[in-house]
């Protein structure tokens, strides 16, 4: 049985070893990414459906390609306790 989610979301993780603080993401998707201090990045690990477009722009613009997002729709790869 797939886990039901109330709203479609995109999950995000940033490989902060790769991140070099270019801040393109914070510029293109300010609802999701923000600089914290001079170099550190704070991001919301989940984006709403309406942020999908700006998120895609941020992912594409990252000079070091450090932003990881769902490549498959969540319900298609559900987690269950099924045998």
């Amino acid at each position: 049985m797939p886990l039901e989610r109330t709203d479609p979301v995109v999950r995000i993780a940033v490989d902060l070893n790769r991140c070099q603080g270019y801040a393109q993401c914070a510029f293109l998707a300010p609802d999701v990414f923000a600089m914290h201090g001079e170099e550190a990045l704070l991001y919301v690990p989940e984006a709403d459906e309406e942020q999908r477009e700006q998120l895609a722009r941020a992912v594409a613009a990252c000079p070091v390609q450090a932003i990881l997002v769902d490549a498959v729709d969540v319900p298609a790869e559900a987690v269950s306790g099924a045998r």
């Binding site: 990045l41 498959v72 306790g81």
Partner: protein, 463 residues
């Protein structure tokens, strides 16, 4: 028999079991499908949650910018796996090739990947650890509980242990305006991982950030009130800290107990494996079908004298997952070693800290760029005349250059004077790492000799 089609059969209809459903487990499952594995894949995890990311738990979540239950890892591809979540593996039968689960089930495998990670080391006094208001931080449930308590506006938060996690927690609490005391057994925060020279900068950052930082002290007891809520902590210097929230941040314990008696080379330091993530048995013989990845794996690293390294780093889990997945489906000549240079990051008190290599192996440090005073610098670590690690404070963009020095075993001190033009240049100084024979809560890198059967480890709790 080479070329007898066994590997091809494995790839077509084999059974691969992954124990551990966190970062390494998920990324390994994805890598196995990337490699073309078409057989059955089972992922077992003791937590009821789907694989989630841990770094935000001590940062965004505590700052109230994300919720603990919502840091699930993005899926880089479909893995078509059977997920057994919320049930722990309880045993391994290497002869029969099966994993036993806590609910009595048995799961047979042709190839097994162990990625059971670590758990937070609890406060050693059980009755005190049970007090309301005493927390550890490792899981998303831990993070949710702590965030809820911080939302309620405690009088004072006491953080025990100033490693990376403890320091990040203290930073988040200060950012929320909460009074914070940090008690650290060592001479400075981060001293086990980065040494005393850099630790002194971390101490300044904490004090300037308003932390009541106390180094060289141990918490000897936690006291509760009549209703079982934590009320105060007693310190080894005779002082008492009144506090209603205590976060125990004393490093981690590897999840290997379930392997006791299995014959696998697993112990408190992790699971010994070869440079290709293949696990050794207790006799020091490498197994054919069992691999380990992530925090629980202990691998000899070609760049660091083939010493067994256990790394509690996000990037290490990702890299080893890929290596293990590739190797378990490959002929021996096609296998690849895990040679990635260790790297990690931490954000605290407004500063971004990044590191490459293994600073904790070093004896000397040279500040090549910026200055300690400005808290913007690069420090290069030297060991026996070569560059072995580097750390940056708000200077992350330079790290790839230093990583190259480590990969090419460049001489230390490095041949350039300093990157910043400074009259007189700089001289290396003692990196001031604590005496390794004195227990601390543990750095994020464990060096444990050259023997797969090396089981020597002692942890002396703070009493």
């Amino acid at each position: 028999m080479r070329g007898d089609g066994a590997l091809e059969r494995l790839g077509r209809e084999g059974r691969i079991v992954v124990v551990g459903a966190s970062l390494a487990g998920l990324r390994a499952a994805e890598a196995l499908r990337d490699e073309g594995f078409a057989g059955s894949l089972t992922v077992i995890g003791d937590e009821p949650h789907e694989p989630y990311d841990r770094p935000p738990l001590s940062k965004q979540v505590l700052l109230g910018r994300a919720s603990a239950g919502r840091t699930a890892l993005p899926r880089l591809r479909a893995v078509d796996a059977t997920w057994r979540l919320g049930v722990a593996a309880s045993g391994l039968d290497m002869a029969a090739g099966l994993v036993r689960l806590a609910d009595g089930d048995e799961v047979p495998y042709d190839r097994l990947l162990i990625a059971t990670g670590v758990r937070a080391r609890p406060w050693p006094q059980e009755a005190e650890a049970e007090l309301d208001g005493v927390f550890v931080l490792r899981t998303s449930d831990d993070s949710a509980a702590l965030a809820r308590r911080l939302d309620a506006g405690p009088e004072r938060v006491l953080v025990i242990g100033a490693g990376f996690t403890g320091s990040e927690i203290a930073s988040a609490c200060r950012e929320r305006g909460l009074p914070v005391t940090v008690a650290e057994r060592g001479a400075a925060p981060l001293v086990g991982a980065l040494g005393g020279v850099v630790g002194a900068v971390a101490a300044d950052m904490q004090r300037e950030g308003g932390v009541d930082l106390r180094c060289g002290v141990m918490v000897t007891a936690l006291e509760g009130d009549a209703s079982g809520r934590v009320r105060a902590a007693r310190l080894s210097d005779g002082s008492t800290v009144e506090t209603d929230v205590v976060v125990v941040s004393l490093g981690a314990t590897r999840n290997t107990e379930w392997l006791a008696g299995s014959g696998l080379g697993a112990g408190p330091r992790g699971i010994a494996c070869d440079a290709g993530c293949r696990a050794f048995d207790i006799r020091g013989i490498v197994t054919d079908d069992i691999y380990a990845a992530g925090d629980v794996a202990r691998c000899p690293h070609p760049l660091f004298g083939y010493q067994f390294l256990a790394l509690e780093h996000w990037g290490n889990a990702v890299a080893q997952a890929r290596i293990a997945a590739h190797n378990m489906l490959s002929e021996s000549a096609e296998r690849v070693p895990h040679m990635e240079v260790p790297s990690f990051w931490s954000a605290q008190f407004g500063v971004n800290i990044k590191s490459v290599g293994v600073p904790s192996m070093a004896t000397e440090i040279l500040i090549t760029q910026g200055s300690l005073e400005s808290r913007r610098f690069v420090g290069v670590y030297g060991y026996q005349g070569r560059v072995i690690g580097a750390v940056s404070f708000d200077h992350g963009r330079w790290l790839p250059f230093y990583q190259e020095l480590i990969e090419t075993t460049a001489p230390f001190p490095p041949p350039f004077a300093t990157v910043d033009r400074r009259p007189g240049g700089q001289r290396p100084v003692d990196a001031d790492f604590p005496d390794p024979s004195v227990p601390t809560h543990g750095p994020t890198v464990t060096l444990s000799g050259y023997s797969p059967a090396d089981r020597r480890t002692t942890f002396t709790p703070a009493h």
